[in-house]
Amino acid sequence: MEAVVAPDRDAQLMLRVRQGDDTSFGMLLERHRGPVVHFLYRMVQNQAVSEELAQEVFLRVYRSRETYEPTAKFTTWLFRIATHVALNSIRDRKKEKGHESLDEEMLDGTERQVADRQPTVEQEMVHEVKLREVRQAIEALPAKQRVAVLMHKYEGLDYAQIAGVLSCSESAIKSLLFRAYEALRDRLAHMA
C-alpha cells in the first residue's frame, strides 16, 4: 500500500474537486491540458487521436474524484493515467489496422506550425525530413523507453516521477533513459 504524502498544490485542488468544487477541476484542466495533450500527441503522433485520448484521461480524473487519495504527486498520477490510455490505444490500433504510415498522419498541426513561420520551400522540406526521422526514431523505441524519454525530455518530469508512472525504481529509470538516448543517438547520428 502506498503511503499518503503531503499533498502538492495540484493534489489540494483535486481534493477540492472531491468535495464537489468543479472550479478546481477547471483549474487542473487549465494547468495540465497542454502537457497531457502534447505527451499523448508524441506517443500516438496524431492530433485528433491525442485529443480524444486526453479527453479520456481528464474524464477518468473526474470520475475518480470521489475516491481520490494523494498517495503520490498529482502529475505522477495524471501521467500514469495518460500512459495507460496511450499504451492501450497503441495496442488497439495495432490490432485493428496494423502499422499505419506516419506520412498520412503528418498532415495535421505540426506542419501548420512550420507554415506559420513562413520558411522557404527548401527549408520546409529539410525540416519535414528531420522531423520525420525524429518521430520515427522515437516511435521505434520500446514502449517503456518511449514513455520515459517523452516525460523526461519534453514534460520535465524527474526520475522519481517517471519511476512512479512506470512503477519501477529510479535506478531502473536512469538505466532505461540511458539505453533510450543511446538508441536515439545511433539512429539520428547522421543528422548531427
Binding site: 479527453q55 473526474y62 470520475r63 505540426t110 506550425q113 522531423l131 522515437i138 523526461h152 538516448y181
Partner: protein, 146 residues
Amino acid sequence: MTCLSENEQGAELLTGYLSKALDAARMAELGRHIQECADCRGLASVWQRLDEFAVPEVSLGFDARLYARIAREEARIPSSSWRRWLWRPVAPLAAAAAVVALVLGFLHVPGGPDSAKQASNVEIEQVAQAVDDLDLLTSLADTRER
C-alpha cells in the same frame, strides 16, 4: 574527464547539463568537456534534434467537448450526485447530529418518559385520596345511622 556518454552516471550528468538542471560550476565544466568529446557532442546533438518534434496547439473546443462529455455522463448516471453527497465528510456528522437531536427531543416532548412518570404519580395520589374520601363518607354514614 572520461566520456560521459559511456556510462549511466555520466549520461545522467549530461542530460542534466542539456536540460540546464546543474549548478553554474558544473555547467561550465561539462560545457568544456563537450567541446572536446565527440561522443558527448553526439548525444548533445541528439538532444537538440529532439527539439524538432514540435507539437500543435490544443484545439479551442477541447474544454467544451470535455465538459459536454462530463455532462452527458452525469445525466446518464443520476445517482452520481447522491453518491457525491454521501462521500462528503460532513454527511456522517450531519446524520449523527440528527439522530442525537431526535433522541433528545423525544426525551423532552410532552408524553415523554418524565411526563409519564409524573402522570403515574399523580394518578396514585388521586386514587389514594378517593379511597380516603370514601372511607370518610362511610364513617359519617355509619355515625348517622347510629
